[in-house]
């Protein structure tokens, strides 16, 4: 409008000049009163134009001021966001759907070939007064809806935040990575050695301009790889803490900008627990180890876990590695067999984005979307992983062993290969092949159709939308 009125003003000036010239040329014939009338007419026109311009200016100012306070709604590939004009209060609705299928090469395994709705989540997150953040994630993929995450985060400073509710314990590297962006469709065996989600309270923050992230939490406590229930069944609690450094994160041009390393740990006691639900799983999600011995083994005593971890991303290349040692006391409920057991696992995974996009802990953003009409295909990434896990031999010893030899292995070694196709920022398809072999002592014949009755070879496919 400003440009328009400027153009009109220019036109008016030209007209005025022309009129002025005409007036001057015909000055001999025009009377003084005619010229005066013309001048007045021009003045009035100029005033009208100025008023028009000013009213437009005021309207723009009002609109700008109103826009600052008016609520906003935005629908992007990050979800549907409602926010107040100043952005201090917000609600973002996000979603995650993972439609999987699993195909086992050996028909004798316990698990069936299946299509499975792995995750179907609605994620509601936002903030009040900028610093009071919240997140609620219902899960609809199970037999009954459940709450996966629900927490309040009070952001006193970026360096000092308090979070309370149900969320991931700050220990495992891959465990803390979003479900939608990991290299593979399923996390490695290491994640089943470390605690998953739990109910508790945590202090955390980013220090030294995001170069160091810390978290210290106090939780109900869970067994390896498990999610905590809404309430505890014992008075004992677990501490969890993690320090993770990304010292070159602000040096964007450095080859080390994508380097991160740290250590996560937890410690506590689970006396009196009646859970006993620990399960170490293969990539195909079969349980190759659990305390399934006679007398319903339960965790009973002190436990700790330590997990050194690191990742490195450089351009399209990504590497992630972690190690876990988990120690816990277990016993039969009748107390006839009580042991302190120490299990270990590690994994190393790598990926390479064939189409050249940057890889990262938070995923890959394709440069183009899959669109046949435009001849664009999105991004492709190849991934590989090797993992090994061991179980304390004490789990199988004693008159009433805590685990049964014929259905549980004392170790598992696996590798996986995969291809991820990023059709857009929100849609990803992937196919993975996993091979897992089990440590079964000579002379032990695994039960027929038990998960460890032969190597596991499985294809897992996924079509996912995450926004």
């Amino acid at each position: 409008m400003r440009t328009l009125t400027t153009a009109v003003r220019t036109a008016l000036a030209t007209t005025i000049t022309a009129v002025g010239l005409t007036a001057s040329l015909s000055a001999q014939t025009a009377s003084a009163s005619d010229i005066e009338a013309l001048r007045e007419q021009i003045r009035l026109l100029d005033q009208k134009l100025r008023v028009l311009e000013r009213n437009t200016e005021l309207k723009d100012e009002t609109a700008t001021a109103a826009a600052k306070t008016a609520g906003k709604v935005a629908f992007t590939d990050k979800g549907l966001t409602f926010s107040s004009g100043d952005g201090a209060n917000s609600l973002r609705v996000r979603g995650l759907v993972q439609a999987d299928s699993r195909w086992f090469a050996n028909d004798h395994v316990a698990a069936n070939d299946t299509f499975i709705l792995r995750r179907a989540r609605l994620i509601l997150e936002g903030a009040f007064n900028k610093n009071f953040e919240y997140l609620i994630t219902p899960e609809f993929a199970g037999t009954t809806p459940s709450i996966v995450d629900a927490f309040v985060n009070v952001k006193i400073r970026p360096e000092f935040q308090i979070r309370a509710g149900r969320f991931r314990e700050p220990v495992g590297l891959e465990q803390l990575q979003s479900d939608a962006v990991a290299f593979f469709n399923e996390r490695s065996v290491v994640s089943s050695y470390l605690p998953n989600r739990d109910v508790g309270i945590q202090i955390h923050g980013d220090l030294f301009t995001n170069r160091l992230n810390y978290a210290v939490g106090y939780f109900n406590g869970v067994e390896d790889g498990q999610n905590g229930a809404n309430s505890d069944n014992s008075n004992e609690k677990d501490f969890a803490a993690r320090l993770f450094a990304t010292p070159f994160i602000n040096n964007k041009d450095s080859a080390l900008a994508g380097l991160g390393f740290g250590v996560g740990a937890s410690a506590g006691s689970q006396n009196g627990s009646s859970n006993g639900t620990l399960a170490y799983r293969t990539d195909g999600q079969q349980t190759w180890f659990s305390y399934n011995g006679a007398g319903t083994p339960i965790p009973y005593g002190n436990n700790y876990r330590i997990s050194p971890q690191a990742y490195y991303y450089y351009g399209p290349f990504g590497l992630l590695a972690e190690y876990a040692v988990t120690s816990a006391e277990w016993r039969n409920t009748n107390g006839t067999n009580r042991r302190n057991l120490q299990n270990t696992a590690y994994q190393i995974a790598a990926g390479y984005v064939l189409t050249g996009e940057d890889a990262g802990y938070k995923g890959v953003t394709p440069r183009t979307n899959f669109d046949l009409d435009n001849g664009t295909w999105g991004a492709f990434e190849v991934v590989a992983r090797f993992s090994q896990a061991d179980v304390d031999s004490g789990a199988f010893t004693g008159a009433t062993p805590l685990a049964v030899r014929t259905s549980r292995a004392s170790g598992a070694t696996g590798y996986g290969l995969g291809l991820n196709w990023y059709l857009s920022k929100t849609v990803r398809a992937g196919v993975d092949y996993f091979h897992t072999s089990f440590d079964v002592p000579a002379g032990v014949n695994p039960a027929i159709n038990s998960p460890i009755d032969g190597d596991e070879n499985v294809f897992i496919t996924r079509l996912q939308i995450a926004f």
Binding site: E40, R43, L44, Q47, R50, V51, E53, R54, N55, L58, T62
Partner: protein, 334 residues
């Protein structure tokens, strides 16, 4: 030994003072034309307070149409003090948000009005109407463009409106005729800014209009800044005694722990130093000394008060500026 003890004591006093000195921040939410006044006053008060307590006070200023500013405070703007154009706007904060008591005007001298002002005409010398505008009734001339802000958002505009109304009532004998008179003035208003400073921009910088109904201090500033060759101040035969009022926003100040300094900030407006600054900035001071000093600066004009002519702000606001009031009747039907 005595000298040593004295020195030790002095050092202790200095150390204690240094250790307890505070940095305090106040927010003064004011109306449009007071920017320059409070820039100068804030500096003076900070120096005074530093000398008195050792604390460093920084006063932040917020300006806009008086009514709009009051609404911002009601909606949550954390003002320690308000210095608004109308007592009614301060009362609105008390009534609608309960941030200060209803008797706030009794807490400071002169009904919490440490300075006054009035409404004058600023006439453009290049206008064909120059020389033809002497009083309120000249504002109804056909073709004349009058600049005044929106009384719905601007305190200054309400003073303008009421001054014109009272002139009309006295000249033509009734409220009905006064309404017709004011209506004929508003027929000549091409732009309604939300505040007085916006109207100054419209008139002075954008070159719109023949006459601007202006706060006296704004008129003086415009002449000073843009030259007496461009504008002339015309004083009508009758005008209104504008009494901008000030108040501590108790609940906000209490929450921020600034009650004492906020109170002192307003009380200091009545001091000799502040009254001098007020006079220098073309507001009419209230202390006898400053009044005498600046008497020659201000034109003589018959002034009436809102209480005398309209029975106070509450009544005037309800009759003229509330939804459906006389302004709505005049302007919506324009």
């Amino acid at each position: 030994m005595k000298f040593k003890s004295l020195l030790t004591s002095l050092l202790a006093v200095v150390a204690v003072t240094a250790a307890t000195a505070k940095d305090i921040e106040l927010l003064n939410v004011s109306y449009d034309p007071t920017r320059e006044l409070y820039v100068e006053y804030n500096a003076a008060f900070s120096a005074y307070w530093k000398g008195k307590t050792g604390d460093t006070v920084t006063v932040k200023q917020s300006h806009g149409g008086s009514g709009k500013q009051a609404r911002s405070v009601i909606d949550g703007l954390k003002a320690d003090v308000v210095t608004l154009a109308l007592a009614n706007d301060v009362s609105a904060i008390s009534k609608n948000a309960g941030l200060l008591p209803a008797n706030w005007q009794e807490r400071l001298p002169l009904g919490s009005a440490p300075y006054t002002s009035t409404i004058v005409f600023l006439v453009r010398k290049s206008s064909p109407f120059y020389g033809k505008i002497k009083d309120w009734n000249d504002l109804t001339q056909s073709g004349l463009a009058v600049i005044t802000p929106n009384p719905k958002t601007s305190g200054g505009a309400q003073w303008n409106y009421l001054a014109a109304w009272e002139f009309g009532r006295r000249k033509y004998g009734s409220d009905e005729k006064a309404q017709e008179f004011v209506k004929s003035i508003y027929k000549n208003v091409p732009v309604l800014d939300s505040g007085a400073r916006g109207s100054t921009t419209t008139f002075v910088q954008r070159g719109i209009g023949d006459v601007f109904l202006s706060w006296e201090n704004e008129a003086f500033l415009a002449v000073k800044e843009f030259g007496a060759d461009k504008f002339e101040i015309v004083v009508p035969s009758l005008s209104i005694l504008a009494q901008p009022t000030v108040a501590v926003v108790d609940k906000v100040a209490k929450r921020k722990g600034t009650e004492a300094v906020a109170k002192a900030y307003l009380e200091y407006l009545y001091s000799d130093e502040a009254q001098d600054i007020i006079g220098k900035n073309y507001y009419r001071p209230t202390s006898a000394a400053a009044k005498a000093k600046y008497a020659a600066s201000f034109p003589k004009v018959e002034l009436f008060t809102i209480d005398d002519a309209f029975g106070g702000w509450t009544k005037a606001a309800a009759t003229h500026f509330a939804d459906g009031g006389t302004f709505d009747q005049i302007y919506l039907k324009k």
